[in-house]
């Protein structure tokens, strides 16, 4: 019976797999200096930005593609077979939503983020300001004016380069330098757009900020950059969602996210990642190779990463926090679900430098089908990080006997006052748990959903309300009946 349900689920469709028929302007595949010049020109970028890109490109050329350490398998990527720019054709500068291509708006409606509707509901603090990135270009940022009243800057990265060059120059590459790693270098050279967000001193951002990423055109890669700067005493909660159409080919997504939290600032970053995971035979799907890192640069600052990872053929990312300020706090809450032939190698790095720094890591992995799900994390207590404290918990849940769950934690401690604890368990859904639920009238499907939700509760509770609902639904879809 178990197999039947598993089969049933494997056949269930990726509901975000539609393709939007929209006029796009796409570069021919290939990567060389000319492409970068063209890209920069297209975006009307200042000279320093072009130089930044070229420097990163040159560094990238000297780097080697990492392929030997992560617990993932994929064919070598041909970087000359990717188009580095794809944008919905624009007529002129858009002044309001009315001028946005209606096809595009329909897409976002399908995705459940109706920009139209949100526009009408201005001023309600529980609302979310959305920056939608379609293929490589930021399409529309909502609520900009409302936010500006508070002094909050929330716009596409390209606009920020034009309008706030001093901020970009100061902060871009501060946490993830262009030479950080292979994919970060590639991103620094060819990044197309993304979001920029600046919260001024003492401001508590009145609404959740959100970016929605969508890959649409085929043969393209998406290389966006997100930069969040929280000035002294500010607070922001930031959400990120991603989907992609169903295609036979593998598409590369190599993003960079940088967070800078000054003294007493707090940034909460939540991701629901649902890129197309490929079909049941592992054909197609997104390669999600992302560098996410934040720095608690000031005292008493806090950065919190929450992620729900259900998509992508291959996920390879480690949202990290550098705890430089004294008394700073880093958090990582993650649920990673893999099914069919998906592979995920994800986790976090907590680098303790300041005194009295604290970090918490809660990671819940769920593997089903033929997938492999790995947690890989680093907790590093540097010398002089007095009274640092870390607690890590990595649990894995296996569904079926063809999948794998792995844990690779690295713990490096150079200070005697540090207290570091790490726990990991691997288990399956207990027969007794299922029996208990079934006895109370739930069918197997619902019982599994209930148990998995309970298993992930610690993480899901950390998500903002709007996302928590979506995440719960996603989990249910991703795991429909995969009890084996």
């Amino acid at each position: 019976m178990g197999n039947e349900i598993l089969e049933q689920h494997i056949q269930s469709d990726y509901k975000w797999g539609f393709i939007t028929d929209i006029d796009t302007e796409t570069f021919a595949p290939g990567l060389n200096e000319n492409v970068i010049h063209a890209l920069s020109k297209k975006k009307n970028e200042p000279e320093w930005m072009l130089e930044y890109r070229l420097k990163a490109y040159k560094a990238w050329l000297t780097m080697k593609e990492p392929d030997h350490w992560a617990h993932v398998h994929y064919p070598k990527i041909d970087f000359n077979n990717i188009s580095y720019y794809s944008a919905p054709k624009k007529k002129t500068e858009l002044a309001s939503l009315d001028e946005v291509d209606p096809e595009l708006l329909k897409t976002f409606e399908k995705l459940g983020i109706s920009l139209e509707e949100q526009k009408r509901l201005t001023g309600v603090s529980s609302n979310i300001a959305v920056d939608a990135v379609f293929d490589s270009v930021s399409v529309k940022t909502t609520f900009r004016e409302t936010l500006l009243e508070k002094g909050v800057i929330f716009c596409s990265f390209s606009e920020a380069v034009q309008e706030h060059p001093e901020l970009i120059k100061k902060y871009m590459g501060m946490v993830v330098p262009p030479t950080d790693n292979y994919y970060a270098a590639l991103n620094a050279a060819v990044f197309s757009d993304g979001s920029f967000c600046y919260i001024p001193k003492g401001v508590r951002c009145p609404m959740e900020l959100s970016t929605y990423f969508r890959i649409n055109a085929s043969g393209t890669g998406q290389f966006e950059r997100t930069l969040i700067v929280a000035d002294e005493g500010s607070y922001v909660s930031y959400l990120e969602g991603c989907t992609a159409p169903q295609r036979d080919e593998n598409q590369l997504h190599a993003a960079v996210v940088e967070i800078i939290a000054h003294k007493d600032a707090e940034v909460k970053y939540s991701t629901v990642q649902n890129w197309y995971p490929g079909d049941k035979d592992g054909k197609g799907g997104i390669y999600n190779f992302v560098t996410k890192r934040g720095i608690c640069s000031g005292d008493n600052s806090k950065i919190s990463w929450t992620q729900v990872e259900t998509g992508s053929a291959i996920t390879w990312k480690y949202p990290s926090v550098i705890l430089k300020g004294n008394n700073s706090i880093g958090e990582f809450y993650s649920v990673a679900v893999t099914n069919n032939k998906q592979e995920a190698d994800t986790g976090t790095k907590m680098i303790h430098i300041g005194k009295n720094t604290r970090s918490t890591i809660i990671s819940k992995g769920i593997s089903a089908g033929f997938s492999n799900n790995s947690y890989r994390g680093l907790v590093q207590i540097r010398k002089g990080a007095t009274n640092a404290r870390n607690f890590s918990q990595c649990d894995s849940l296996l569904m079926g006997d063809k999948c794998g769950a792995h844990t690779f934690p690295y713990i490096e401690i150079k200070d005697k006052t540090a207290i570091v604890e790490h726990e990991a368990t691997t288990s399956k859904i207990g027969e007794d748990q299922l029996f208990y639920c079934k006895q109370r009238g739930l069918d197997t499907e619902k019982a599994v959903g209930l148990i998995v939700n309970g298993y992930c509760k610690e993480v899901l509770n950390k998500l903002p309300m709007e996302f928590a609902v979506e995440a719960q639904k996603l989990l249910a879809v991703s795991l429909e009946g995969s009890v084996g």
């Binding site: 350490w69 006997d401 769950a405 844990t407 690295y410 005697k416």
Partner: protein
């Protein structure tokens, strides 16, 4: 794994080949594979994931610049002998029949590698794959004259076997002690392996292949006491058959570098393996414990407990891996690593890994690192115990969990005396 290669291996090959003849008890295929591996891959640096925290290449380069292989004979081992045990002695990597006790125990056989029977020949190199690790290759290429210790089927040895590996050199030297230990069906034995360096700077590259047959039980102790000029890499390749039981307790007393590769292959159902380790280090010592529990079949158990007390500028490493293969359902595996840092310059790196491909398993690991518990100190202080004494009591209590695993009283006393926290 792409790792940078250096010429350290070549220098060792040159130095050792100059003073030693060809190893004639290991088959030519394994010898040439071993040489090829060394020439191609070299000695691992910290670029090699398995040696990330233990750059043996750099240590060898720094400490063993002038390998002379100028050994000193050892004539007496009296002071190291245990009262109640059969003693086997290996001097500078070679089995010494003259220093070893005459074997009169029923069911126990010891053959030097020169007199191996066909069974012994078939076991030699069968567990230690030269293409897996540089130190297996190095030992295979230049293996000392080892021995095959065999406990016949249905034999319960009442007296423990005490194997003393003793090295002495006029200056810098490398030794490659090697053995095969075979415990027959339904048999039981206790083996104490004791590593000592009396003079000179010696790098010991130890390799043991242990076969524990059906329903057999091996209790083994490894005492590493090589002093401040002792450097060692110790590889144990253990294979368990159906319902076999293996328990090893390793006490790391001294040694500038101690790297332990303890690989246990569980290939028969209902088998169980237990690994315990305790290291108490200071100065600039480096101790690196790597363990692998390879669960290949269902219904087996494994357990690991490693504890470390790390002082001064020393570095402790624990890297344990529980590997559960696809069919190894109902596996029950547990791993625990606990450490206390006593100094601001001390470092502990731990990497407890789980790699699991079966769903009906219970696997978990826990690791914790901290300082001496302040509330416990306060409790003792409040009862009139000085800071000094309180610290000794607490460290003793911490270490006791591992020391208690030693069931041989004579050995336990010796260890407690040697550790003597102060």
């Amino acid at each position: 794994m792409i790792a940078e290669k250096t010429n350290t291996a070549q220098q060792i090959i040159d130095a050792v080949s100059a003073s030693a003849g060809k190893v004639n008890f290991i088959n030519d295929a394994a010898l040439s594979d071993a040489m090829l591996f060394l020439e191609n891959k070299g000695i691992p640096t910290n670029k090699h994931e398995d040696y990330k925290y233990c750059n043996v290449d750099a240590i060898l380069k720094k400490e063993f610049k002038n390998l002379s292989q100028n050994f000193k004979e050892v004539t007496s081992i009296k002071e190291f002998k245990l009262e109640n045990a059969v003693t086997i002695v290996v001097v500078n990597g070679n089995y010494s029949e003259t220093l070893s006790d005459k074997i009169i125990l029923k069911g126990l056989h010891i053959n030097s590698f020169n007199n191996l029977d066909d069974n012994g020949k078939s076991i030699l190199t069968s567990q230690a794959d030269v293409n897996k690790d540089a130190f297996i290759a190095l030992n295979t290429a230049f293996s000392g004259l080892g021995f095959h210790l065999k406990v016949e089927n249905n034999t319960q040895l009442q007296i423990p076997i005490h194997i003393i590996y003793i090295s002495s050199s006029n200056d810098q030297a490398i030794t490659n002690p090697r053995n095969i230990i075979e415990i027959g069906n339904n048999s039981e034995a206790t083996i104490i392996e004791h590593q000592i360096t009396v003079q000179g700077k010696v790098f010991t590259n130890f390799l043991s292949e242990k076969l524990i047959k059906e329903n057999a039980k091996l209790t083994s102790y490894t005492i590493q006491d090589q002093g401040e000029n002792g450097f060692s890499v110790n590889t144990n390749q253990v294979k368990l058959s159906r319902a076999a039981s293996y328990e090893n307790t390793t006490i790391m007393l001294s040694g500038q570098l101690i790297r332990n590769n303890h690989n246990v292959v569980i290939s028969g159902e209902n088998a169980e393996a237990h690994l315990n380790g305790l290291f108490v280090i200071g100065n600039t010592q480096l101790v690196d414990n790597h363990t692998l529990m390879d669960h290949q079949v269902p219904n087996c158990q494994s357990n690991e407990l490693y504890k470390g007390i790390i002082n001064d500028k020393s570095i402790g490493v624990f890297n344990g891996k529980i590997f559960v293969r696809k069919d190894a359902q109902k596996t029950n595996a547990y791993q625990s690593s606990k450490n206390i840092l006593l100094s601001d310059d001390a470092t502990i790196n731990t990497k407890p890994e789980l790699e699991i491909y079966a769903n009906d398993v219970k696997c978990s690991h826990g690791t914790s690192t901290g300082k001496i518990d302040e509330s416990a100190m306060f409790y003792l202080n409040a009862r009139g115990i000085s800071n000094e004494n309180a610290k000794i009591m607490l460290l003793n209590a911490f270490a006791e969990e591992v020391i208690d695993k030693i069931t041989n009283e004579e050995l336990k006393e010796l260890i407690q005396k040697k550790l003597g926290f102060n």
